[in-house]
Symmetry: D2
Subunit: 305 residues, 4 copies
Amino acid sequence: MLDETAKGVFTIAATPFLPDGALDFESLDRLVDTYAEKGADGLTILGMMGEAGKLSADESLAVIKRVIGRSPVPIVVGVSAPGLAAMSALAGEAMQAGAKGVMVAPPMGLRTDAQITGYFHNVAEALGDIPFVLQDFPLATGVQISPSVILQIVADCPTCVMLKHEDWPGLEKISTLRKASDAGARRISILCGNGGMYLLEELLRGADGAMTGFGYPEMMRQVIDACHAGELDHARDIFDAYMPMIRYEAQPGMGLAIRKHTLAQRGMIAHPTLRKPGAGLSAAAIAEVDALAARQKRRLNDLGL
Amino acid sequence: MLDETAKGVFTIAATPFLPDGALDFESLDRLVDTYAEKGADGLTILGMMGEAGKLSADESLAVIKRVIGRSPVPIVVGVSAPGLAAMSALAGEAMQAGAKGVMVAPPMGLRTDAQITGYFHNVAEALGDIPFVLQDFPLATGVQISPSVILQIVADCPTCVMLKHEDWPGLEKISTLRKASDAGARRISILCGNGGMYLLEELLRGADGAMTGFGYPEMMRQVIDACHAGELDHARDIFDAYMPMIRYEAQPGMGLAIRKHTLAQRGMIAHPTLRKPGAGLSAAAIAEVDALAARQKRRLNDLGL
Amino acid sequence: MLDETAKGVFTIAATPFLPDGALDFESLDRLVDTYAEKGADGLTILGMMGEAGKLSADESLAVIKRVIGRSPVPIVVGVSAPGLAAMSALAGEAMQAGAKGVMVAPPMGLRTDAQITGYFHNVAEALGDIPFVLQDFPLATGVQISPSVILQIVADCPTCVMLKHEDWPGLEKISTLRKASDAGARRISILCGNGGMYLLEELLRGADGAMTGFGYPEMMRQVIDACHAGELDHARDIFDAYMPMIRYEAQPGMGLAIRKHTLAQRGMIAHPTLRKPGAGLSAAAIAEVDALAARQKRRLNDLGL
Amino acid sequence: MLDETAKGVFTIAATPFLPDGALDFESLDRLVDTYAEKGADGLTILGMMGEAGKLSADESLAVIKRVIGRSPVPIVVGVSAPGLAAMSALAGEAMQAGAKGVMVAPPMGLRTDAQITGYFHNVAEALGDIPFVLQDFPLATGVQISPSVILQIVADCPTCVMLKHEDWPGLEKISTLRKASDAGARRISILCGNGGMYLLEELLRGADGAMTGFGYPEMMRQVIDACHAGELDHARDIFDAYMPMIRYEAQPGMGLAIRKHTLAQRGMIAHPTLRKPGAGLSAAAIAEVDALAARQKRRLNDLGL
């Protein structure tokens, strides 16, 4: 079971499709294998970047079973849904299939502190003893969660074992949460998203790792390992080498298309297809990504990577 | 099949629950019967007021089948969903079960005209030849749809046969749409929501009827019939008699609890239960509703109703 | 000075313009006189309904001075502004001119409880010893304020002496705040807005009066007086007679045009002009208002009013 | 006068304060001088990053006059305001003082295409013959503007001479606008914001330069000059060297504090003070900026800069 000690790299998995929009299970297998080879300690599936909302209930379950059957590392399943009944049903199926935990983002429209804590109280009750990740991603959800609200949820809900941190700006939030756990609050795992954009600073502030799906997932492994080895300058060299691409992939609404293009270029999936509604990249954008990839390769070579 | 000629009263049906939160199918039967007796020309189920988001997929289908098996009038099914795959799957099941059409509200987050028309193009494509109702409810969805956007969707999507109009303010929008269809644009049905708050003015502006779930659904029948009979003063007398209650029920986030309280008081359902998350009424609110109901009864008596 | 004991009717004053958009000071005088004659205990100027945002700084000051020089009742001045410096400057000028207090709505964009309390701490500091009204109007500002946040601001800021309550739904909020002050929290004045739509229930929940600008401001006086006299049925009769018009005026974005039409029809101002950007009423809307006014007059006649 | 041919670097100027919050005119002089020395072709003052909302009207005018009196390059003044009267008054004063144009961002709350074009029609009318920059910054304003809306405004308003482009993602928008002007639409200047995060790609897509206030404004000059000289690889080397800092400064709500820290560290202003409400940097954040600055310096040295 997922618990507060989780750390390292939980890669957010893309969901591969064939050119006609059907699920591409062969690519899914290859993707799972490659994520693990490139250093994932776990995988998160059916998150926002997994195009979860575009799958039918049957397809979601098929993806869950396929990934869990294949993966050598633990699986977390995104179960955000407009209603608790659907969330609870999907979470139950995922856990029965072998998932280690689930991830929940608050629905758009929550505003006050009381609304947010109330929502997660209901989530925790609906999920029973299933451990869950609280996804804090205001840019996508519009829900702004204060550190004090997170601490309240952590205090009230023992099954909340991890924060997927992608508030922006969010560095002070990590420091605040760590100061609170140092002072006696229950310490939960903090893995960071935002495409890795602030990964190095996040680690220095006390994060336990990354949970994101950057098209070169080995970046997270390399940066975290260098940090843990105390080689901070080396970590910065690596991080900076990937930075122009991280930044380019960070364009909201385009990030997934860029990421799938990269995964396809690298042979990790067969097709860069996004399911509708969801557009591919323009020729200009493809040229931009490819130029960045070529430079990145040279810089990583210079670093012996 | 639902088409552009639909008119009259399409009552938005509540979904009744037992005190423990389970679906109350006996009450559902009684509710369907009573809605028809009180003058419904059709029913709309699994809309926002039907707590659709709180049902699992299996429960949704069970409700659809039960209502369609019972109802003497045509059924429209709300199928709004975060993704097109889930929407399309539910719509297919509903139509197979005998529904006459489906209703779709745009997801929160759509902003520009192009985003909104693009979304409904995708919806129409995903639904194939299933006729659909465009639900225009900015207070709930946050999506503001210009008249020109509605006209564009109507022009582009022949399966868009009805507007559920609950923009606020929205009277000029009805006039604009009717002016456009008088000038040659395809004329679709316009049924109005907003709890009936502006029903009389909406009819005078060219709406074809009401699609809402006010706790006294006979109000819509009575007002529409009086208007059609040319008895405008009588229509206003009826409308005004219900107005204090319409206004009270219009409180966002509380309307459903008020409505279910009324339905339970009137014996149309067994319990006023809302499924979680969703609170019941305070003692003070119940006293307020009951006081309004008592006065309303006297005024309707005076009108011979 | 405005303080926690304020009660009764604080009418929100419109700002009259000539047909060419210039300030109409003669109408302003007449409006101030009439508001007082119709029972206002105070006036609030330069609020959202006073088209404050459309006045230059010089014009705002001219309006403030004219109204204060004319009015027999105390004046509250709306000073909401994007920045504290502008707010503080305007508040200082208003108080120097003889205003009794100011009103502040939070800027769009505030979300978490901490952001909102932090903002009002800054407001209180910037205003020094000037008493202020906290305007709680989520439909217009997008800022949702929990009862606990209001209580925190009241506890922290002794100069916060009044709540302009126009949350929707908001009845439980009044009950919660009154329960808190009954239990020992500082009791501030609560005057209610929302065009008077829930005035009767608000009074029964513990509100101290109304602060709104309904086109027939005598309604607030009559309803409050009847309530205070213990004639609740009479109060309801009056309230119900105005209800169809209250509801019609409640259309967001159109309310001011309707109100100015009414004020002009009643001879309280010379022209219904709105300053740009801001449209007048269509012919259809004018016909609707006039029909409602005629019926309202008859019903009030029947009540001996 | 500012016109469609404007290009290069328009630096967004910070507004320096003394530790007690008063305007620091000496630092303002030095800042203006340094911006020009570091290659600015123009300056934009009183934008969002200039803490415009925190200045009183008198202070705004004082800053305008001081900067215009000092600067060897043309000045654009941000005049966004809740109302057209205040905007028009400030714009008139700015132009009289010698500004070459003004900049206007749409107010929060605009949604439909028609609302946005309508707003800018009103702006253009209110500004008369004053040339203006349309600021397109959805992350800050919440207003999403389609390319077709921009083209409509450009077609309708001859005084709209420049787009301050900071939509995100926004690269396709630049391509679309340039394709339209290539096909015959009036071509206006496009200068890009977003802290320079996508400057290189923006230039390649057809932007005319940068309008942003990154703490090392020479970056914009160097990247643009290298691009124009056809030395694309060199441009990328420079851009990449600054990238970790650009990214760090891009944190919304913190960017200005980071920028002012940098400006103070570099001696361009005396104090990093932000006016209230607005917090300074934590010790951890300062350490992060300083570490980035040290690495950046080394990398620029390696590039001979």
